[in-house]
Symmetry: C2
Subunit: 193 residues, 2 copies
């Protein structure tokens, strides 16, 4: 056996995450990680084959945090939960969120495609959404996702009015969701006249 391990995978990813959170994902370098740990780059290469493997692990960590935030929101309404969790992530890890959305949507694409069916199922069970066609439900869901992304992006970029605190931001998300559903009901009503 050799000497005691001083730097674990976890610590390395922690350091990388910290850099990503303050300077952006592209600012991560092996030397910066080492510096933040007060080590050399050697421990990094013992734990990861190369920078790509480290990035994969970092993304996995980020996804984990995102999932953690989602589990912390369990009001019963999966829409509200998902929206709030996404918003919290965008606000608490704004730099990473911006980079993730910008990169390309590989991460988001996968995430969305995983979440969509579950949300869609939930919509079809929701009594408030009774009577809508599949297409109408699809449009409602799409509008909500669009608004959620826009709001998260605004929050992450500090583009919202200063007086909007966390609660106000959550409220406007709910309000917009109501707008979409109410309007959809009105359209449905007109069609049936």
């Amino acid at each position: 056996m050799g000497p005691k391990v001083k730097f674990t995978k976890e610590q390395i990813i922690d350091a990388a995450f910290e850099i990503a959170q303050t300077e952006g994902l592209d600012a991560i370098t092996m030397r910066k990680i080492a510096e933040k740990m007060n080590s050399s780059v050697a421990p990094i290469y013992v734990n990861f084959k190369n920078v790509d493997e480290l990035n994969e692990a970092l993304i996995a960590r980020i996804i984990g945090i995102s999932r953690q935030l989602l589990t912390e929101e369990s009001s019963g309404n999966p829409f509200s939960d998902m929206g709030k969790a996404s918003l919290r992530f965008a606000m608490e890890y704004s730099v990473i969120f911006r980079d993730l959305v910008a990169k390309n949507g590989r991460y988001m694409q996968g995430y969305d495609e995983k979440m969509m069916p579950a949300l869609f199922d939930e919509m079809q069970k929701d009594p408030e959404l009774k009577g809508f066609t599949i297409d109408e439900l699809r449009t409602i869901l799409l509008k909500m996702r669009i608004f959620q992304l826009g709001l998260s992006m605004m929050a992450a970029n500090g583009l919202l009015p200063e007086e909007y605190n966390k609660q106000a931001i959550m409220d406007i998300l709910s309000s917009a969701a109501d707008d979409v559903i109410v309007s959809a009901k009105l359209r449905r009503g007109f069609e049936n006249e």
Copy 2:
């Protein structure tokens, strides 16, 4: 006098823009620009002091294009115009749009702050928005901006359903705007009962 100028500021910015559009803003390097022009880096340093000055010129060019798109949309309704112009930019220059939004919002912040007062004035003149309080108008405008940003981001990232063509994307923007206004009117109605 010296020899004829073979590479102008315009050509250099053109080359930089082309790289930004295909590989992203961060992928721009002096040597790549030179390669695209079949020149060396010398002409670049004759025309620009350094890479920062070149970037400023590139941003100015991008803002110019954005403005150009806006002037091309003149339906009379400044809301619709601005939404369509923003969407066209996001779709036609998706890589640059993503990078701009991601960077930080410095560019967006300035752009927004310049546009907001004009839009707000326009809202107060709009007969369809008669009777709303200042705060209500502010909320309506904010919701529209949020939706517009979300939709632009989705379009730029290819996250919209495949069957959504340009027209369908424009339509959903209008539809969401209607949703917000109609719902605001309903709320107003209830309050006055």
